[in-house]
Amino acid sequence: MREIDASLITDAVCRLSIKANYELPADVKAAIKNCRAEEDWDTACGVLDRIIENFGIAEGESVPICQDTGMACVFLEIGQDVHITGAPLSEAVDEGVRHGYGSGYLRKSVVRDPVRRGNTGDNTPAMLYTEIVPGENIKVTVAPKGFGSENMSAVRMFKPSAGIEGIKSFILETVEAAGPNPCPPMVVGVGIGGTFDKAALLAKKALLRPLDVRNPDPYYADLEREMLARVNSLGIGPQGFGGKTTAIGLNIETMPTHIAGMPCAININCHVTRHCSEVI
């Protein structure tokens, strides 16, 4: 049994909230640059050049890449041989968000009630996801999620008879409906299987996987390649002004499901697909 003080989690969440908002992951930067190299539509090239210039400024000057610094989605993989001491876990995480969003000059974008609204003023609470895993470490991932893209996401409960063609149509339909709203080029996270809620979580986790790493199952790896190509033949293009680059990545995560169902969730992200991790 290893004891880890909750303050270490607070500190990690604080650091990661700031870093994620200032620096895009290397795979996302590379994907945008590769798409720029392959883009052949003038307007689209101009938009992608400015997007590349923007993330360079953000990293160089330590300012947020985007003004929507997101809801702080915090994923904790907690080793089962860890005992967390000190503050209650969710309070420790929120304290990290509070410090990070304050000292990092990040935007406070959370309201305390979904209907009656009212900004909480410190971007808390975090959207906290915990998983118990083997080992005696804690892996902390912070993925700030903007809502221009979150709003264009969708969940559908398919009959198994809809098959792979049902899933394919749903992906294209969702991207089409999103159009220019989620700040394309986008990243498409797809979750298939589980229950209603697990499918949505899989879709969100799909956005955490590096864009240059394919699903380990060759069936889904091929589906990722096929659907990225088909999304990029829609012509929506960067910012919706037309072009080849509608998405810079498409990741699919799956899990077992019930004999009666085939849940599918699609979580849309913008080109500012932010996440970073630390292991305690």
Partner: protein
């Protein structure tokens, strides 16, 4: 076409702008998004005046990040305009003519734009660090309690936009994509 214009956006000036034009804006714009628009439209419904003169005004749909010490403003890119569709016709009816944002608009907004000679400018979504460099002055003018959603008066210089929907209702989201797809069929 590439154009450099100076705000306010008069009716005469608005009518010279065409869908697809690259337009660099210089002058005063006002920031507002969801909560600010709701409050302004409620004020108008009560017969009260707005915190700024809406005549020929341009509203930038943005909620910036806080300014770091020594900076005018934090990152300041556009938010999704469709959430302001419920309020935009009302704002245009009292004189506001320009809107800066990103994303699709409802037909009733386009109809109001045709009626009042409105122009919908697009700024690059997710390029807030770059766009902030064109913002030279930022003053909070109302609704401070709304935080990032408070009303601010900005002075911008050569702020880069593209006309997405012009005063005659032409829409770059339709024409740009159609032209690209047509080019692939050749």
């Amino acid at each position: 076409m590439e154009k450099h214009i100076t705000l306010p956006l008069t009716e005469e000036l608005a009518k010279t702008l065409r869908c697809g034009d690259t337009v660099y804006l210089t002058g005063t714009v006002y920031t507002s998004r969801d909560a600010g628009h709701k409050r302004m439209c409620e004020a108008l419904a009560r017969g009260e005046s707005l915190p700024f003169d809406p005549t020929d005004a341009t509203i930038y749909y943005v909620g910036p990040t806080p300014a770091k010490p020594g900076h005018v403003i934090g990152s300041a890119g556009p938010t999704t305009s469709g959430r302001m569709d419920a309020y935009a016709p009302t704002m245009m009816s009292v004189g506001a003519r320009g809107m800066i944002g990103k994303g699709a608009r409802l037909p009733e907004v386009v109809e109001a734009m045709k009626k009042y000679s409105g122009v919908y400018f697009g700024a690059i979504g997710g390029a807030g660090a770059l766009l902030a460099k064109c913002i030279k002055k930022c003053d909070l003018i109302a609704y401070e309690d709304l935080g990032a959603e408070a009303l601010r008066e900005l002075y911008v210089e050569d702020f880069p936009t593209v006309v997405i929907i012009d005063s005659e209702g032409r829409n770059l989201y339709e024409t740009g994509r159609a032209e690209y797809l047509a080019s692939k069929k050749d």
